[in-house]
């Protein structure tokens, strides 16, 4: 992420695409290293496919600049770009066989047939389609079509390969295999991959870095681990994984911890980097699999009183749904077998716990909420309406966690 010495392979500078009435891609800036595998992830309609088409040259941008290996390619037409796109539906040529499909990009200029044939065969070897070169496209399975589409793009030695949800048409088993294959091929060739998907498992298992997009904007760019563990915005926290979000107001900050008064009492969160100001409205994020179900929390742990609403047995784990004191839904994922899970009555009251280490704080509702930070500690709730009714600050109905130093 911080290789200033290395020239980025791909550089987006404030790329913006406006259609009539809406902005599909909004001021997107991004740098991608050579040989990096970057996944762009977001819900449908977030602008990720439009962004990919802009990179390919199939769509023009309204404003902004696009650089590939330092060259400004903003105005280079699609057929002269060094990028190749792999389509969701493969877009193979139905009237050509596998060999002719792979060779297509090599036969557009004067060429030596033997050289082309050699390169096509080498690429077919790499993607495991060597035995299928004389097949018609209609005779191939989805996974084989995927391999042909990949070979057709890669045989032309692109500087950047763009992939638009390439695995979404495959069944679950094949998708898993192809994820491994894609990663292997990418590492074998060292080509930069930009991979668009709405599937976080694909993004997390293959990519070096993940870009989370929403409404045309980049929400967060980070490694899969950091995106999963420390989402930076509300959107990322809700879109990625199974996170519990506690809305609240900062009641105290010391050098190690921040205390946040929320609907479940006051919770403490270990500081990371910048700390919010006292009185600021914030959200505490805790992953469902970091919550523990126990009679009493360990020393320094946060305790949340809850009511059991449901439990789901999912093979190797149990998923619990609770309601918090203020009606907020709380999820807990526990790695335990069916038998070891305690028998509990619905609506039973109990407590769940999480360590301050496993929680993180994100800004409340973006920049709009920022001015409220100057308000004194117990200021009335900001007018901005959260999805869950903002609870009045509850003053520690549970024993104050030991770690929360005021």
């Amino acid at each position: 992420m911080t290789e200033a010495s290395d020239q980025p392979d791909l550089e987006l500078l404030s790329v913006t695409k406006r259609f009539k009435g809406f902005t599909a891609v909004d001021e997107v800036s991004l740098k991608v290293r050579r040989g990096e595998f970057v996944a762009i992830m977001g819900p449908s309609g977030c602008g990720k496919t439009t962004l990919l088409r802009i990179l390919a040259g199939l769509e023009t941008m309204t404003t902004g600049q696009l650089r590939i290996r330092g060259r400004d390619v903003s105005d280079v037409p699609v057929n002269l770009r060094s990028t190749r796109l792999v389509w969701q539906n493969y877009a193979l040529f139905p009237h050509l066989d596998v060999f002719e499909n792979i060779a297509f990009g090599l036969t557009l200029k004067p060429h030596d047939k033997a050289v082309v044939s050699g390169r096509v065969k080498a690429m077919a070897d790499l993607v495991g389609m060597r035995d299928f070169l004389d097949r018609r496209i209609g005779q191939l399975s989805g996974g084989q079509k995927q391999r042909v589409a990949l070979a057709r793009a890669l045989v032309t030695e692109p500087e950047i390969l763009l992939l638009d949800e390439p695995l979404s048409a495959l069944d679950a088993h094949l998708r898993l295999r192809m994820q491994g294959e894609l990663r292997r091929i990418q590492q074998a060739l060292g080509v930069t991959f930009i991979y668009v998907t709405h599937n976080q498992i694909e993004a997390f298992s293959m990519a070096d870095r993940v870009v989370v997009m929403n409404a045309g904007r980049i929400e967060q760019v980070d490694t899969p681990e950091r995106i999963y563990t420390f989402p930076k915005t509300h959107f990322v926290a809700r879109f990625v994984g199974a996170n519990n979000l506690f809305e609240g107001r900062v009641s105290a900050v010391d050098e190690r911890h921040t205390a946040v008064a929320c609907g479940h009492g006051t919770v403490t969160v270990t500081n990371r980097g910048a700390t919010p100001a006292v009185g600021e409205t914030v959200t505490v994020v805790v992953q469902a699999d970091r919550m523990r179900r126990a009679a009493a929390g360990g020393p320094g742990e946060n305790t949340v009183p809850v009511t059991l609403k449901g439990r789901e047995f999912a093979g190797s784990q149990n998923i619990y749904l609770f309601d918090g004191l203020d009606g907020t839904e709380i999820k807990l994922v526990a790695q335990e077998s069916m038998g070891s899970a305690a028998v509990m009555a619905v609506n039973a009251s109990m407590t769940v716990h999480f360590s301050p280490e496993d929680a993180s704080i994100i800004g409340y509702a973006g920049p709009a909420a920022a001015p409220a930070a100057d308000a004194p500690a117990q200021a009335p709730a900001a007018v901005s309406a959260p999805p869950v009714q903002a609870p009045p600050p509850v003053q520690a109905p549970t024993p104050e966690p030991a770690g929360a130093a005021p």
Partner: protein, 270 residues
């Protein structure tokens, strides 16, 4: 549905199908049969086999040259109409431009206007520019007429083409022209052949406009009409049988020779 319980509907369906075929093909069969019969008028009893009507048709002297003219004008008009139709279909399929619906309407107009009015209009126009009364004038008017059906068949085929395969060709480095020649055209071939056949049939059958603009160089329908006006005789059955044979041969030839060539690898077993 239950085994042993015989369902009468499939059998009845087959009977209905057979009746439909009889209804469709009986006139054709009768035409061919009576072209070989000595009867002066079609009817029973049959009076014995003869080739007299074919001889008479050859002796008669206008039908065969007219057939020759038709076999010149119709393929030419079909070919030119198909070429125009392909490019128009490609443009309509690919681009959104102002006046698109208007253009579609104008192209479809020659089919919607009664041929009688169209024929008079063509005659008036061609007479003014001194192009009337020749085979070339029939060719010109038929191109106008057959472009629309050719276009609609080709457009139907092009609309089945995923837009991405064109984009894929550009993305792999192909120019617009290379994409057209190597991706779009091969994909459109079945539509182009179908469009050409339809255009050919439209032109080959067309009587009213050809009757207006042709002079002494008549096409087959015009020549048949001339004979029909003079006398009703079984020579017409003979020419009908020949026209039917030509159409059938063209269609069978395409089925047997051309289609397997085009799709040979599709049917191949792995």
């Amino acid at each position: 549905m239950i085994a042993g319980d015989r369902n009468p509907w499939p059998a009845l369906g087959r009977v209905f199908l057979a009746l439909s075929y009889v209804f469709l093909f009986l006139p054709l069969v009768l035409l061919v049969v009576f072209s070989f019969q000595a009867n002066r008028f079609p009817g029973l009893p049959l009076q014995g086999w003869t080739l007299a009507w074919y001889e008479k048709m050859i002796d008669q002297g206008t039908l065969l040259p007219a057939l020759g003219h038709s076999m010149l004008v119709s393929p030419a008009a079909a070919t030119v109409g198909t070429i125009i139709g392909f490019f128009a279909a490609y443009a309509l399929n690919r681009f959104d431009f102002p006046g698109k619906t208007v253009l579609l309407g104008i192209i479809a107009l020659p089919i919607l206007i009664p041929p009688l009015i169209l024929g008079v209009a063509f005659l008036g126009l061609l007479a003014r520019v001194h192009l009337n009364g020749t085979l070339f004038s029939i060719f010109l008017t038929h191109v106008v007429l057959v472009t629309a059906p050719a276009l609609s068949v080709i457009q139907l085929r092009l609309s089945q083409m995923p837009r991405q395969i064109e984009e894929a060709a550009w993305d792999l480095g192909a120019t617009e022209l290379q994409t057209l020649m190597r991706v779009v055209l091969p994909f459109a071939v079945p539509g182009i052949l179908g469009g050409w056949l339809l255009a050919f049939t439209f032109s080959f059958d067309e009587f009213i406009i050809a009757w207006f603009v042709s002079g002494f160089d008549q096409t087959l329908p015009v020549a048949i009409y001339s004979i029909l006006v003079a006398s009703m005789e079984p020579t017409l059955n003979a020419i009908g049988a020949i026209v039917f044979a030509i159409s059938a041969l063209v269609l069978i030839g395409i089925e047997v020779l051309l289609l397997p060539l085009l799709f040979r690898k599709d049917t191949e077993e792995a």
